[in-house]
């Protein structure tokens, strides 16, 4: 009996731990006073007022958010923005644990359906079956551009973001990798090594980033920049924490490299580069965020390029699409007959002043696109809004327009 009670107690503690681990965070502070800035001015329909929209929509919309890694810094930044929206609007977010398989993704979607979610916000997706499962369960689905052609006619598929205006196969990851390669060439780097993350293990996003990086290097070379890269010798596979990664970094840092491109969180290279005495001679370009991790490294020049997806700009349109669909204004999510793809711009940061401006704004709990801006893009709140206006609004948030 005693053993059974103790086992039950352990189970209870484990469950509490898990819930704490995957539950929503209230760490972000709502400002309610931020301005959508000059970018918003280019969109006439987009309002910069800070009206109280805490009771909008009338009925709470519950949204399941899929993530591949709940400790990933970009995801945590997005989570802060979504929590800010949830705090300032009548929304509720349910976050997944780290999804590492199609089964885990299906389980999350099923549990969202059981929990009464209205929609799935696919920050991450493993399989197209997940989209079908979401639709079959009567929930709306936003995200995953690669499968959009198969589902764009379905009313429950409410769109996604895109980085390209045409139907190019160069997706966001490819373009992110391209920026890494080209930017280092442009900055005068002569010899670069590339940390490819999961590319060698078949992880598609990393494969695309590597292809993009190599294309970026070729483009830089074609434009006359003298950057060298050999795809067989200048690559480090995998992630930190393994002996082979440590050994590979060591062998690269003893070489003549003056540039490093990293397809994941570059923070793990800062200390080894520092210890090797190369902090002044190596420039890092990374796909990363504007946060504490990069603050010092960007300001002291160790990191010279960050390819950054501003959370409210790139992903925020998903919340607009979901609210419009759930409140019965599905037509506002359609571009013609198909689900709309909102064109957004990725920001390539090379100037510390730009980095610091974004950092300071987010650090103060403020956003370029506020909760009231989001409400203004919803037909239930602003009956004259159209998909074209929403698309135009998000397109206006280029780095140059937004961060002065």
């Amino acid at each position: 009996m005693k053993k059974r009670l103790l086992s039950l107690a352990l189970c209870a503690v484990m469950s509490a731990g898990l819930i704490a681990g995957c539950g929503s965070s209230d760490s972000s502070e709502s400002s309610g006073t931020s301005s959508s800035g000059s970018a918003a001015e280019s969109s006439e329909e987009a309002s910069t007022d800070t009206a109280d929209v805490s009771n909008f929509p009338e009925e709470t919309i519950k949204i399941g958010v899929e993530s591949f890694d709940t400790t990933d810094e970009q995801f945590m930044a997005l989570q802060e923005y979504l929590d800010y929206l949830a705090d300032n609007m009548n929304l509720e977010m349910v976050y997944s644990e780290s999804i590492d398989s199609a089964e885990a993704e299906m389980d999350f979607i099923d549990s969202c359906a059981s929990a009464g979610c209205d929609a799935i916000f696919a920050y991450y997706n493993v399989s197209p079956e997940a989209i079908q499962e979401t639709i079959d369960k009567g929930m709306y689905y936003w995200g995953t551009e690669q499968y959009a052609p198969d589902y764009e006619d379905n009313e429950y598929y409410v769109g996604c973001y895109t980085f390209t205006e045409d139907d190019s196969e160069e997706n966001g990851d490819y373009l992110g990798g391209y920026e890494l390669g080209y930017s280092l060439g442009e900055q005068g780097v002569k010899h670069v090594f590339y940390c490819n993350g999961g590319a060698s293990f078949g992880v598609q996003m990393f494969i695309d980033r590597q292809s993009g990086f190599e294309a970026g290097i070729e483009a830089a070379q074609a434009d006359g920049y003298e950057i060298e890269y050999d795809s067989s010798a200048d690559v480090i596979e995998g992630w930190p924490g393994t002996d082979d990664f440590t050994a590979a970094v060591s062998s690269k840092l003893s070489g003549d490299y003056d540039g490093a491109a990293v397809s994941f969180n570059a923070a793990t290279l800062f200390q080894p580069i520092n210890d090797a005495g190369k902090a002044d001679s190596i420039k890092i370009a990374a796909i990363g965020g504007v946060n504490d991790t990069y603050y010092d490294a960007f300001n002291n020049g160790l990191v010279s390029t960050i390819v950054y997806d501003c959370e409210e700009v790139v992903f925020g349109n998903g919340i607009v699409a979901i609210i419009n669909a759930v409140t019965g204004h599905g037509d506002v999510t359609r571009d013609g007959d198909a689900a709309g793809r909102v064109l957004t711009y990725r920001w390539t940061l090379t100037d510390p002043d730009q980095f610091n401006a974004i950092y300071d704004m987010h650090d103060a709990g403020e956003y370029y696109i506020t909760a009231s801006d989001v409400a203004n893009l919803c037909a239930e709140y602003n009956s004259s809004i159209t998909f074209d206006e929403i698309n135009e609004y998000y397109q206006s948030f280029t780095l140059e327009n937004t961060v002065k």
Binding site: L18, T71, S98, E237, T293
Partner: protein
């Protein structure tokens, strides 16, 4: 050659042969950086880090307790210890002390939960790994610990500290293993639990001490790791298990050569051997997947050897006996004839 000389040679033969093999191969292929200068420093770091984790794992595994929470314990200890040391400006020694104390406390919790519940260690450690991961995730708003650039704190992956750390650990571990009542009892329990407990050895007390020592070693490993990378992120979904995947080869090599020295020394020599292999393959341009395959093949080879080495001894013994019998018979026949 006397016994001590033979033991030294037998203990060092594997790493020396591996080093020479890769040194010659790397130099022959134009990769002269292997095993010298900064690469040697990396090999030292890798061997200390892997060696500490392998020792932490072996202390329980040799008694049949597979501890799945090893990675989670290390990550949680360094996340809490690192943040406390940073926030209170405790310095490098403070970082080590706080992290080790937290590792010790987590080890004690693991040991107590295991002995009180009496459930299979795999089940208990799986549950604890999830709890430790979740706590590490919640702590510091999921940001883990970031000490990049704080060079006054991050000294344990550099000379001479890394050598001091491993030397102290090895001395203490050898004393604990081979010269204390705890060590004798641990060995007795590992080789025959029923007989040992019938003799009056307290198995639960011994297990708790093993978990505590394991926690301390993981706290030290956490300090070495963060001194190398400057940052540790929380892990979720049992992904902390990746931290102990490099512990197996040192553990098996250690098991094979422990008879020539001591198990902790054997494990550390195994870790050095593994570091040579990893670094050598890296200089030769092997991919990460190929290295994983090589690592697996070597682990398998060692398992095959250690599981069947008694057959060689038996064959040798039978051969000697047979020769002795033949000689006796021949002598007898000669005498009669």
């Amino acid at each position: 050659m006397n016994k001590i000389g033979k033991n030294i040679v037998m203990s060092l033969v594997i790493p020396v042969v591996v080093y020479l093999f890769f040194f010659i191969l790397c130099n022959a292929t134009g990769n002269a950086g292997f095993g010298v200068g900064s690469d040697l420093q990396t090999i030292l770091y890798t061997s200390v880090y892997s060696g500490l984790i392998a020792m932490a794992m072996a202390i329980n595994l040799s008694s049949g307790r597979f501890d799945f929470s090893i990675g989670a314990t290390m990550v949680l200890a360094i996340i809490i210890g690192g943040n406390v040391a940073k926030d209170y400006n405790l310095g490098a020694v403070g970082l080590l002390i706080v992290t080790v104390l937290i590792g010790l406390a987590l080890g004690a919790v693991s040991g107590l939960v295991y002995t009180v519940l009496g459930l299979p260690p795999m089940v208990v450690s799986l549950g604890l790994a999830m709890i430790y991961e979740a706590i590490g995730f919640i702590f510091n708003k999921s940001k883990g610990v970031k000490l990049m650039g704080k060079n006054d704190l991050l000294i344990f992956a550099k000379m001479p500290w890394i050598v001091i750390v491993i030397a102290v650990v090895l001395v203490v571990m050898v004393l604990l293993w081979d010269f204390t009542k705890f060590g004798y009892e641990r060995k007795a329990l590992a080789t025959g639990q029923k007989i040992a407990t019938d003799q009056g050895i307290n198995e639960k007390k011994n297990a708790i001490i093993c978990y505590i020592i394991s926690g301390v070693l993981l706290g030290i490993a956490g300090c070495v790791y963060i001194s190398k990378y400057g940052t540790v992120s929380p892990e979720t979904g049992l992904s902390s298990s990746s931290y102990f995947m490099t512990a197996f080869l040192p553990m098996f090599i250690g098991g094979a050569i422990a008879k020539y020295s001591s198990q902790p020394i054997g494990i550390y020599i195994g870790a050095i051997t593994q570091a040579f292999i990893t670094s050598g393959l890296s200089w030769l341009g092997f991919s990460s997947s190929a290295m994983t395959v090589m690592n697996g093949v070597i682990v398998m080879a060692f398992l095959v050897y250690t599981s069947n080495s008694h057959i060689l001894v038996e064959q040798k013994m039978f051969k000697e006996k047979l020769e002795k019998a033949r000689a006796t018979r021949e002598a007898k026949e000669a005498k009669e004839g």
